[in-house]
Point group: C2
């Protein structure tokens, strides 16, 4: 019964995501993963990083054609796979990439041609996965941080037997509606873990994936049951290395000692503008050693299969540090006239050069052909993968029997099913509850959710005490305490966002949050956009959300940020006004499991308002008070967040003067947009054009809500350094201004 229960678990995820072919439960023999048949350590040593690293071995055409020359360099052979077949498989990968790019007349053949050897070894010899269930929980994760080289990954997924990438998918590379878009997209292609392309994001995602493994393993593994146990592999290129985000993430990976993170640095010395010598001469190996990584140099990434294997073995032996394997390759390896030049980076080779490359590598086959022996060799991954998953399912069934509570938590993390009744944990407030900053109210919610959501974890970019993000019942996730759930990101906003994307995409029930000042979303906007695009439920806890932060001044005061995120697709921008709305915002953020949410929260105290509610918040815009009848107020006052209080005050005054005034809280434009036309008309009737909005931010976009006859009160210039009250007054964000505007428009 336990067994069937755990099978159900993985099958449930599978059935949600990909059509299954064959039953994974039918194969249950203990196949040895090929990763166990690695050669013994070949004497390769971690090479001290010096500037001589920069020397590279260029392939001669003769070397390409003659396996015997390569064999002399590769002193060891793999028992189960002869090198000629490996070579053939590697060339299959190269030509699948060449052919797909050629057919699309668009794409990046250079990286797949250079990285095919490491790609082959990873997917054919090292990684544990189940091609027929790309979402099997305990799979090894692979991230192609240099996402432009996606044909490498598509070729590997194809050979490994993933259903998402069949021959016809390779042939429709970069075409409308295909499963093989121009950069890897997790939401398009099962088997792709994260969305990459914007450089540096992938390595940071990989840090998030490896963090998740380390955390879950520490929480759930038992001396007699290693139920969480996988590696995270990533390939990154020179471009990723230059991006600051990769430095941020790598620094944290070293700090956290993510021993099961193994990064391959495709050191091909070529970027779009030519030789990396023109802009990138730092000693990358020495830098990573300074960051606390184990560094290995594979000098011949083009044909040094045993070097690559030995490096992986060495990397696995180092369990307290992440490993960077610098693999020197030739971009476009095999192309006689374009290899080692930028021209092979981002364009099709062209028919003539494709032919020359076929000649050079001795490849007689038609485009997209996978030779039978290669096909046959790779075919074992389907039964092996099924066996791996089945073995794990058996293990999980035993675990569940012995540790039912832990198993229930882990199951919730694996499936993403929220524990029953979790919403009851959310705090509620009355107008009599004490005034408080929404950042503090946010912390009450975070702490409430931490108790009921097993996959809830997060932290701040060195502003925990300002963002109010500590979960008080937990300690810090650190190298030696990975079971804890408070993450300390340091002042690294961009890396933080991308790491959270990795966490969110590791398992459906992991719900990461991360925090900084709202204005510093500018530092992490590229990661937030990837959250939105890749459907990662990351909760961005963004405090100090306006001029209300006061003295720190314009560098710290967001003005245009609300508008800038309202314009971004698939982001839920929430600006709660008080306790109930903050709770309502967290409720929606948890429920929207394919959408990141951004909470804009105040530094300053705000009163608990009458009429606010969790239910109202879910609608995005709703009436919190109204003394009109027949859906015909004289004027509608619309506020968000800290300015809703001002709208309420203005309404009180106007009502004293006999006006029929409706006050609408507009906590989230996106949620309001989702409502029925009827509901919208009940809140903002078309006939009532007398509308005034107030928000301490850019008025850009507000015409949509207040109409051309209404008035938007806001701030369309940079802020100022002074006490908050003074700035509000000087900038005209006041009840008096609302009253004046209301009289003007009604």
């Amino acid at each position: 019964m336990a067994s069937s229960s755990s099978l159900t678990l993985s099958q449930a995820i599978l059935s949600r995501s990909v059509p299954r072919h064959g039953s994974s439960s039918s194969t249950n023999s203990q196949l040895t993963p090929s990763s166990l048949s690695l050669p013994t350590f070949s004497g390769l040593k971690s090479t001290p990083a010096t500037s001589s690293f920069r020397r590279r071995i260029l392939p001669s055409a003769a070397a390409c054609r003659s396996p015997s020359i390569r064999a002399s360099a590769a002193v060891e052979t793999l028992e189960k796979t002869d090198n000629a077949l490996v070579e053939k498989s590697v060339n299959t990968i190269r030509f699948l990439a060449i052919d797909a790019v050629e057919k699309a007349n668009s794409g990046h053949p250079g990286l797949p041609m250079g990285c095919a050897p490491m790609g082959h070894i990873l997917y054919d010899e090292i990684m544990r996965y189940n091609p027929k269930n790309p979402y099997w929980f305990n799979r090894d994760r692979f991230v192609l941080s240099a996402g432009h080289g996606c044909m490498l990954q598509y070729a590997l997924l194809h050979l490994a037997g993933y259903d998402a990438v069949r021959e016809e998918d390779l042939k429709s590379f970069r075409q409308w509606g295909s499963k093989t878009p121009g950069h890897p997209e997790n939401f398009e292609t099962p088997g792709v873990e994260v969305t990459t392309g914007p450089l540096g994001q992938g390595i940071a995602n990989a840090v998030g994936l490896a963090l998740s493994e380390k955390h879950l393993a520490a929480r759930f593994n038992k001396p007699d049951a290693e139920i969480v146990d996988h590696y995270t592999y990533v390939i990154l290129g020179d471009g990723c290395q230059m991006e600051g985000i990769s430095q941020e993430a790598a620094s944290l990976a070293g700090h956290w000692g993510l021993g099961k993170l193994i990064a391959f640095y495709d050191d091909n010395h070529i970027s779009i503008d030519g030789d990396t010598e023109i802009a990138f001469t730092e000693d990358v190996g020495a830098r990573f050693e300074a960051l606390g990584w184990h560094v290995i140099w594979v000098k011949n990434g083009n044909t040094g299969y045993d070097e690559i294997r030995a490096a992986i073995k060495e990397a696995k032996a180092v369990t307290d540090k992440p490993t960077m394997i610098k693999v020197t390759t030739t971009i476009g390896f095999g192309s006689p006239n374009k290899a080692n030049s930028y021209s092979v980076h981002g364009s099709a080779l062209g028919a003539k050069e494709v032919e020359a490359t076929r000649q050079n590598l001795g490849w007689p086959y038609e485009p997209f052909h996978v030779p039978e022996d290669v096909k046959s060799h790779w075919s074992r991954h389907i039964p092996e993968g099924a066996a791996l998953e089945a073995g794990w399912n058996t293990k999980f069934a035993e675990y569940e029997k012995k540790y039912p509570e832990e198993a229930a938590d882990l199951k919730s993390i694996i499936t993403g099913e929220l524990p029953a009744g979790w919403e009851k944990a959310l705090p509620t407030y009355t107008p009599e509850s004490p005034a408080d900053a929404t950042r503090n109210l946010s912390q009450q919610n975070l702490n409430a959710l931490a108790k009921v959501l097993p996959g809830f974890l997060g932290g701040s970019a060195d502003l925990a005490s300002s963002n109010m993000t500590l979960m008080k019942m937990f300690g810090d996730f650190q190298k030696s305490t990975p079971e804890e759930r408070n993450l300390r990101f340091g002042v690294r906003e961009h890396g933080m966002g991308a790491i959270c994307n990795g966490i969110a995409l590791h398992s459906p029930g992991l719900i990461p949050y991360c925090a900084t000042f709202f204005v510093f979303t500018d530092y992490m906007r590229a990661a937030i956009r990837i959250s939105a695009l890749s459907e990662s439920r990351v909760i961005y806890v963004m405090t100090h959300d306006s001029i209300g932060l006061g003295e720190d001044g314009p560098t710290h005061q967001p003005i245009e940020h609300l508008a800038s995120f309202r314009a971004m697709p698939n982001v839920l921008m929430l600006r709660p006004a008080d306790g109930n709305e903050t709770a309502g915002a967290y409720r929606v953020a948890i429920l929207k499991n394919k959408t990141p949410s951004i909470m804009a929260l105040s530094r300053q105290k705000l009163p608990q308002l009458s009429g606010t509610s969790i239910e109202g918040t879910a609608k995005g815009g709703y009436i919190i008070s109204d003394n009109s009848s027949g859906n015909k107020p004289d004027v509608i006052l619309i506020g968000t967040g800290s300015e809703l209080e001002i709208a309420v005050k203005a309404a009180d005054e106007l009502r004293k003067e006999g006006k029929a005034v409706r006050v609408v809280s507009f906590v989230s434009w996106e949620l309001f947009d989702e409502q029925s036309a009827e509901y919208k008309e009940s809140v903002l009737p078309a006939a009532v054009t007398a509308r005034v909005s107030i928000e301490a931010g850019s008025t850009f976009g507000w015409e949509k809500i207040v109409g051309s006859k209404g008035k938007a009160i806001g701030i369309d210039k940079f802020g100022a350094s002074a006490p908050a009250g003074k700035i509000y007054k000087e900038f005209g964000i006041t009840a008096e201004a609302v009253i004046a505007a209301a009289k003007q428009v009604s």
Copy 2:
């Protein structure tokens, strides 16, 4: 005559910016700058970076009180200044910071208290500047990258005699309208070079400042006239070090060999969340060595004056590498109960602890008091500074006589006055000119401007051949060819933007441009915002500006970016449609000398349209064709950039059907906003509510232009990977859609 001419030059700048006090020309004696009186090399060596770097020396209260104990550590003494006076000056700086933060009850006393020694030595002994002309061209530049510690800089500017920071300014720290805002702002406080606070920006600005010096020196210095010759100093903290942007900028600084960049890393081991051990354990020294920097460790930054002096001397002796001086300090040094803790980082000490600190440091004075001997000691900087500038003016006068052409160019760079007739260089086009991508047309403009603007320089983040940004008459700015003007930033968008801010703020006539794909403005948004806030004329050349880039897919296709920048204050967002508009956009970008501009440019070919013009572009929105009369078209079609062509096509069809159609190009919302109400009415008459806009981006904000009865055609979801034409069709960005909408609204 030459002399008076060069005096006029610096005075002209001065008079534009700050009121002058006394005449700098009256003092002409050759005073020896105190930097020349440094002690001989003390034997301090560049320390190999190891993890033992992390040990720090904590001050005992006794050590604080007893100068004799410190004297034993400081083996050398400065000839001209006795250490007791230095100590007093350092404590003056500390207490000015303490008192100002205390009075404001807001601010960051910790850094100024820890960094006062290095601050004192820099401003009193090392730096060359003229307090009465903060804009003197050849001054040393100082950047406080850890901008929250701005009271350090305000105290130093005050002591040095800058007019912007008088005692009353210190007393109005962080108050409305003061010259001493919560973070350093160049546009508020003459003497502050750049705007900092958002961490990591300042060190990248400093790289831009140092690059500018190296470039101008290489271009203009002669064997007999070193007319450009200054250092750039920067203080950065742990927070700056953690930010990816600082890694990007530091990697480039090492690559470029910016030998006159000297960075002080305030290694105080404390960030807001507590000890940096919780998130920052990398070996910073080793990392910088890997980046090609010279690294020195000053172990006692609290009282080791001679160590600091010797380190600066060593740094200056290394001319082919930038130097990082890691200065171990105690945050809040002198505060008996709060030093070395995060509580002293960002809050006032409180009256009790201020008193305890006064006791501890033996400071009997009233708040804000500068002891007479300290005042007298610092007072020499006014005559010395005047002499330095006068000496330089004499030198420049000689230079001008010998090298009139170079002097004219340099003068234009120094003053920002554009050479007469520069606008004539801009290319113009007719409808018969060949269709072309605006990125290519942009390159024609860049190359035209490069010939006429001596201070024009820039480059791309490894996309020069895609962004089309190379200036063909120049080579690459590199370590050994610093006189060249094509900058190679590598894949480092954020660093690139901030470096360009530094270049723009180095001299009024330096006009930097930088480039990447438009979507990757997300990586550099924080730097762009600083451009806007700090009034830096940086030109952002952003190509591949829509789904029109095609196959690269949604990670590379901007959607919300136009809206997000239209919402940002003081940014000129320009989206030209063809050659004339591209030229017009560059013209405006050059003329708006206190505003950054963003060019959104197409990857795909666009026709040269009838009716577009440089003059029209300057108005932001203008009529390019109209068959109506009496300012009463049946419908107004509004397009931007690559979609203006679609509006034109739709108009042609509608006119065939007898409609009176106006086509408006809306190349820049900000420029249109600046026009008179009358002009606006002539383009978009209030009576004509039948309006259709088309833009391949978010419709967010377009209600303002098309009104509630109009229709905005755009894209409110993420893009797709496919050939561009296919995506346009599938997303409904077509003439057919415009025609249908026009019929619907009119």
